[in-house]
């Protein structure tokens, strides 16, 4: 049997303790649970009506809201210690691959935007090509690493999207048309599902998705003959947020998720 109105109190406790370490959350929840239990017991002994008990519980909740909020604010940044984040060596490896891929493509893209296509750069062009190839390999490894690492928590669709993204990258290497479309959309779907599985922050998935669409604007224009912006500084500028979001994803995987937000561990 539970106290009338108790569920509202529990939901509120769940809401304002969100983001705290699991131990702190459980401690507050259990203490309030015991209080509600005792309050119900006392009301039975005193023969109080359910309505009267509900009113008192809701009043105790409402009058304590300012204290709850100020308590929660006092906890911010105090208890999310580094050691309370959930990650593993293999997840960190995948994160490092995302960073390598992002850094390689960002540097190659900037060189190409400033100095021109790698074919016109001589020796520097060969270096750019080599850096890009390393980035491409790292990207493919990072995508398959993510799909493998979180296989128990990702949907089949996002696993397939990961495969499409990897295929897109291989097509980028041979400069095939629409390769960036496959790469961007496949990776965006995969990253969105990772956020759904609480492996990365939702905000990061949103940034990743928006930047992937932004990058496709000039590509789409070129594909449909609306514009001819391939390999121009504009295209590079529009691609940079997407490439930087690879690095952000890598950093996020390296750091892990706070345990209170990510109760599940990777597969």
């Amino acid at each position: 049997m539970s106290a009338p109105g108790g569920e509202v109190v529990r939901r509120w406790v769940d809401a304002y303790t969100r983001g705290l370490p699991s131990e702190a959350r459980a401690a507050r929840r259990d203490e309030i649970d015991d209080d509600l239990w005792c309050q119900l017991e006392e009301s039975v002994v005193l023969g109080r009506s359910a309505r009267s008990l509900r009113v008192e519980i809701l009043l105790r909740l409402l009058l304590g809201l300012p204290a709850d909020i100020s308590w929660r604010l006092s906890q911010a940044g105090v208890r999310t210690a580094k050691g309370e984040r959930s990650t593993s060596m293999s997840t960190r490896t995948v994160g490092a691959l995302w960073i390598v891929a992002g850094a390689a493509f960002v540097s190659a893209a900037i060189v190409v935007a400033v100095l021109g296509p790698e074919s016109s750069l001589g020796g520097l062009g060969a270096i750019v090509l080599a850096v890009g190839s390393v980035g491409a390999l790292a990207f493919v490894g990072a995508v398959f690493g993510l799909v493998w690492q979180f296989r128990g928590r990702l949907s089949r669709l996002s696993a397939l999207a990961g495969g499409v993204a990897a295929l897109g990258m291989l097509l980028v290497v041979i400069d095939a048309p629409a390769s960036w479309v496959l790469l961007a959309l496949g990776s965006a779907v995969l990253v969105w599902d990772l956020a759904r599985a609480q492996a990365i922050p939702r905000a990061l998935a949103i940034v990743f998705g928006v930047s992937s669409i932004l990058m496709l604007v000039p590509t789409g224009g070129a594909l449909f003959g609306i514009s001819d912006t391939a390999d121009t500084p504009l295209q590079v500028a529009l691609a940079l947020p997407y490439l930087l979001s690879w690095i952000a994803l890598g950093v996020s995987l390296l750091r892990g998720m706070p345990i209170a937000q990510a109760p599940l561990t990777s597969a």
Partner: protein, 119 residues
Amino acid sequence: MRRKAGELVPLEISVLDAALDLRRRGVVEAHGFLLAKEMRDARGARRLTAYGTLYKALERLERTGCLESRWEDPAIAAHDARPRRRFYRLTLVGEAALARARQESSEPSLGRAAAGAPS
């Protein structure tokens, strides 16, 4: 307004008072609801202290050393088919803080009495 270190607000004085009264009656440790009930009965109120207010005060009193707490054995809670319980115990620091707070609250009246007394 920020209060001075070691200064108790009226609610905290009530909590410590309740813990001391319970101890005098042989209840050395008390959980949150019991303390709230004791406070309600002591002031003749109809309503218990709000959840947020009570547990924030208990945490502060523990942090300042006025109270100590422990979680009961989960097996006991499971046996009684109720949530696990946290017990608070008044410390020497808490007793001293309570005595100081009582003394400070009685000083103005003593001062007034002294001022009105014939020299």
